[in-house]
């Protein structure tokens, strides 16, 4: 009983910041010291679907960029993660350590160099340029997650499948991929979120011409329309909620959480 209360409390505290957002997004004016707004409205949510707020555009661009960045991170991360997770070679520890660089160094520090290159390549201010810089955090993250997924993968399964008559391609599709799937999906969702939430890289490389949802939200935050801003903020949380839903399903599955629980 006490535990249930404590549990509800903890989860409540973590959700608390989202409650005023929800109220604001439906409030027509909500001022201190009112406990609740006097009038409710759905106008802010309707506004989101108009082109002038650019929320739709931002949502689509964010979706496209994050999907592409995630897919490319998977393409690089799967073989790299297998090598790091399953093989022993000198310098392996150093590589895993240096893969942390894009995570522990602020994008602000690397932006100048990146911008310099992207401008030369004519990619600054383009969608492709933004996708490329989003690979900077997503590929190392994906590689690290997949290396720990592979580290928990017993190569005996592959040997076993081979001796039962499976060709290398059959082993990959029938054994390896199904077995590492939970970790891969979890890691991909997390990489998607990294890209989806990315602000600084998009802000500078996009140069105002690439409009992801965080850009729209940032602009709205600096403006004064609390209701609309709250509605946009809630929209931007959607993928994180999908992630939580997936993770709570895979909660019993250690492989998926193993790679993520330690983040």
């Amino acid at each position: 009983m006490t535990r249930k209360v404590v549990l509800t409390l903890i989860i409540g505290v973590l959700f608390l910041p989202f409650l005023p957002l929800l109220i604001w997004s439906f409030a027509q004016g909500w001022y201190f010291p009112q406990l609740l707004p006097e009038q409710w409205t759905v106008a802010h949510w309707q506004a989101i679907f108009t082109t002038s707020t650019k929320v739709g555009q931002g949502f689509v661009q964010s979706l496209a960029i994050a999907s592409l960045a995630t897919m490319l991170a998977l393409v690089v991360g799967l073989p790299a993660g297998r090598a790091l997770g399953l093989m022993e070679f000198p310098g392996k520890g150093a590589i895993k350590l240096f893969l942390l660089l894009p995570i522990i160094v602020s994008p602000l520090a690397t932006l100048m160099g990146i911008q310099f290159v992207l401008i030369r390549l004519g990619l600054s201010g383009t969608l492709l340029g933004v996708v490329l810089v989003h690979l900077l955090p997503t590929i190392p993250y994906m590689t690290l997650v997949l290396s720990s997924v592979y580290a928990n993968f017993d190569l005996g399964y592959e040997a076993q499948a081979r001796t039962l008559g499976a060709s290398p391609m059959q082993v990959l599709s029938q054994v390896t991929l199904p077995l590492i799937a939970p970790g891969v999906v979890g890691g991909a969702l997390f990489a998607f979120l990294i890209s989806w939430n990315e602000f600084l890289l998009t802000f500078f490389v996009g140069s105002g011409r690439v409009l992801t949802l965080p850009m729209v939200l940032f602009t709205s935050l600096q403006g004064g329309n609390t209701g609309l801003t709250a509605a946009i903020a809630i929209t931007s949380i959607l993928p994180a909620l999908v992630f939580l839903l997936f993770s709570s399903r895979a909660l019993s599955d250690d492989a998926a959480i193993g790679g993520l629980g330690d983040v």
């Binding site: 040997a159 081979r162 001796t163 039962l164 499976a166 060709s167 029938q174 054994v175 199904p178 077995l179």
Partner: protein, 364 residues
């Protein structure tokens, strides 16, 4: 069992970072034979198994099955199945799908797959388990499914890598019986890797003993106990009595007296061994030969035996394992009878005999 040479390893060598894990192994296995590769951990027995399965490639040497060279045949086309220590059932497939895996890879029809799967599950006494998930099985059940999964493809050779070492002691006996029965029913040629000599003794027609990547002796279980090729083999099989003796034809002169042996030792200084369970302890000097007067120094009850330490007046120490019904007091004098056919000798070793990695002692 037919003639040898069904499965044949010739000059097989595998090195890891230049260090040979399997070193110049020659071995002939007959069709339908159960052969154990026995040795301490790190002796190369598992590596040998993986070479046969095709998971590793030899640096040197040749593996042939029915006369056909296997070196360039990938594992999936060798018709050699492998059961690993942990069973490794595919966790995303049901028990039935696990058993049918090999048939599916071969493109067998669904009807054929189902019929064969049910038949194999029957054979391993898991009728009705086809819809269970691997996670729902006990260790013994999982290992039985792994056996069924390997046997369903009717392999020419079945390789078992420490198949029982992850199981509880009480399950091990049942699994041994099941594996023996399955082998007899299917007639499959079987190679078992184990570090447990009691398991090897129960499971195999012949035992190939490996130390440090090299084959030391290939023999029947009884032969290994009674006619070990050297002292290190004898020690691995629980030999505890080793003494030097002067041999003159069938007569051995020990520190405790003279004994006769049915063995044909070399003349001169030899090393003599006798298994502790072969020594009989008598209160009186009934028969005249091969009796040494001894004093009982230690009496350790082990449940099914008493382990006695004996000493002759001349200082020769003997270990004798006698039935628990024979109780001897410490300090009691008696006569140790060393049967002539239990005394076995080898030339005194010029190099220290024990292998590099400590062999496991027999735990009775």
């Amino acid at each position: 069992m037919s003639e040898l040479g069904y499965l044949s390893l010739q000059q097989l060598t595998k090195r890891f970072r230049g260090i040979p894990a399997v070193n110049d192994v020659w071995l002939e296995i007959a069709a339908g034979e159960r052969l154990s590769l026995l040795g301490p951990s790190g002796c190369g027995k598992s590596t040998t198994l993986q070479l046969i399965a095709g998971i590793l490639r030899p640096d040197q040497g040749q593996i042939t099955l029915q006369g056909r060279g296997l070196n360039r045949v990938p594992p999936e086309r060798r018709e050699i199945a492998l059961v690993l220590q942990k069973g490794l059932l595919f966790p995303h497939l049901s028990v039935g799908e696990n058993v049918a895996f090999g048939l599916k890879m071969r493109g067998e029809s669904r009807a054929e797959r189902e019929a064969r799967t049910l038949a194999l599950l029957d054979q391993v006494q898991l009728t009705g388990f086809e819809d269970r998930q691997p996670a729902e099985l006990s260790g013994g059940q999982a290992q039985r499914v792994a056996l069924a999964r390997s046997l369903v493809i009717c392999p020419k050779v079945l390789l078992l890598d420490e198949p029982l070492s992850a199981l509880d002691a009480n399950l091990r006996g049942d699994m041994q019986t099941l594996i023996l029965r399955l082998q007899e029913e299917t007639g499959v040629t079987m190679v078992i890797v184990t570090h447990d000599q009691s398991e090897a003794v129960v499971m195999s027609h012949r035992i190939a003993l490996m130390f440090d990547g090299c084959l030391r002796q290939v023999e029947t279980p009884e032969g290994l106990y009674q006619r070990p090729s050297d002292a290190s083999v004898a020690r691995f099989f629980g030999g505890v009595n080793f003494f030097t003796a002067a041999a003159d034809h069938h007569r051995l002169t020990l520190a405790g007296g003279d004994v006769l042996t049915t063995d044909f030792p070399q003349q001169g200084a030899v090393q003599v061994t006798i298994r502790p369970e072969c020594i009989h302890l008598l209160a009186d000097q009934i028969c005249g030969t091969n009796l040494l007067p001894v004093t009982v120094c230690q009496n350790r009850f082990t449940g099914t035996q008493r382990h006695l330490s004996l000493q002759t007046p001349a200082g020769l120490e003997l270990q004798a394992w006698v039935p628990p019904s024979q109780n001897w007091a410490i300090g009691q004098t008696a006569f140790a009878h060393l049967p002539p056919d239990a005394l076995w000798s080898f030339p005194t070793p010029t190099v220290p005999a024990p292998p590099h990695s400590e062999p496991k002692a027999l735990s009775p």
